[in-house]
Amino acid sequence: MTYKQRIDGRGFDETRPIEAEVGIIPRADGSAMFKIGNTWAYAAVYGPRNLHPKFLQDPQRGILRCNYNMMPFSSSGERVRPGGSRRSKEISLVTEKALFPVLNLEEYPNSVVDVFIELPQTEAGSRCAGICAASMALADAGLEMKDLVSAVSVGKVGDKLLVDLDYSEESYADGPVADIPIAIMPNSDKITLLQMDGEVNKEELLKLLEMGKKVCRQIYELQKKALKEKYHEADG
């Protein structure tokens, strides 16, 4: 059976509705919210701050520490057991690797920048939402950054190539599914995150990357707008 039309009726290169806001956690040094459909991510950045234990310190540059966490009530099925899991550890790591290339922490030796990503509700694409929120929060924290990072998932459901898979598509049972989260630096088109679950061939992958980059650039515009909105009053 072929996948003719998306379950929620949007186009194949269309994302779920996106909402972005910056500065939602006043006590944090930087914070942001990124909602894509029913996947909500909140990111809070603290630092640069003193790093302990001391053996983790890097005398050449500050380090980045990310923490991805799904809240217990966030999934649509079973309760998510609180605390770290193999999955959350992996996502924390890839988030860190996706964000680190844009940051310049050389001014902050021996210190740490902590990023906390919390998800109150999720419906697929949570690591991408987390990365989008975290990159806005890092910019809000006034850190030196080459670029922002925008992320989205692309993939193949049945025989269709599409962007921003939701949960029903990720678990589509009547055909093969490939889920490929990507993150890019929108101004240089460099890829900072590329993972894949499923199978696609080379041509399809290249096509999907192009689709993903296009959507990431749209997301970048939204991130930019959200950042400027917060500081707009500071204008002049």
Partner: protein, 242 residues
């Protein structure tokens, strides 16, 4: 060398720029603080306010933690007392060291109890004399106005708003001092010490919070003056009624 191309400035003066945004194209434009050059382009390196000064494009930071800088006068909290000095919390990622010889010109006998000068939890105004590449911070107490702070309260504000709180040649903070009758010391690191009549102390805190919130508005000094005068009057009225 210009390639016979007119420099193209894409960003507008006094506008907000986000990391990665191209601010200008052309080799005749120079990247200032907060920006970097990638071939022909000048790109924003952080979130900030664009300031165009002739051919230089700068970004003024609007957010971010304090980073110790040589020459800054800051307010610190004593967090440790050692054999030959004090360790201070600077409201940044790095603590500062106040050595015995920079603290006082008194003779201190070997093994003397240093807490008689500055004890744990004390707040002091000090000046940064040196910051190394590894961000080891040295401070001194020798200079006008550098002292231990007794009484009063310490509040924390956004470091990037400190210049606004001080005002041009200190106009803002002097005004708050005059109207509220409080002693105020503003540290570059975002710590502010206020000491005076409890009601007026509170009013000064509220005024500073107001400046922090409305730092983008012009004519703020007059607005704060009006705010302070109105509220001081009301409080005085209440006091006379009671």
């Amino acid at each position: 060398m210009s390639k016979n191309k007119m420099p193209q400035i894409l960003a507008k003066d006094k506008e907000i720029s986000v990391p990665g945004e191209t601010l200008a194209i052309g080799m005749d434009v120079l990247p200032g603080v907060g920006t970097y050059r990638d071939k022909e382009k000048i790109i924003a390196n952080r979130l900030g306010l664009v300031v165009i000064e002739g051919v230089t494009i700068k970004l003024y930071p609007l957010s971010g933690r304090y980073l110790p800088k040589s020459g800054d006068t800051i307010i610190c909290k004593v967090i440790d007392v050692g054999f030959n000095g004090w360790r201070l919390d600077t409201n940044s990622a790095y603590s500062a060291m106040l050595s015995m010889k920079d603290a006082t010109s008194d003779f201190i006998a070997r093994g003397a109890n240093l807490t008689q000068y500055y004890d744990l939890g004390d707040y002091i105004v000090c000046k940064i004399v040196n910051v190394t590449s590894q961000k080891l911070v040295d401070v001194t107490m020798k200079g006008p106005g550098l002292r231990k702070l007794k009484g009063g309260r310490v509040i924390e504000v956004n470091t990037n708003k400190v210049p606004r709180i001080i005002g041009k040649q200190g106009s803002m903070v002097v005004m708050i001092k005059e109207i509220t009758g409080c002693y105020i010391v503003v540290g570059q690191n975002g710590f502010i010490w206020i000491d005076g009549d409890p009601n007026n102390e509170l009013l000064a805190v509220q005024a500073i919070r107001k400046i922090e919130r409305e730092s983008h508005l012009s004519g703020l000094t007059d607005k704060i003056k009006e705010y302070l005068e109105n509220n001081v009057k009301i409080k005085n009225d209440l006091q006379t009624k009671n």
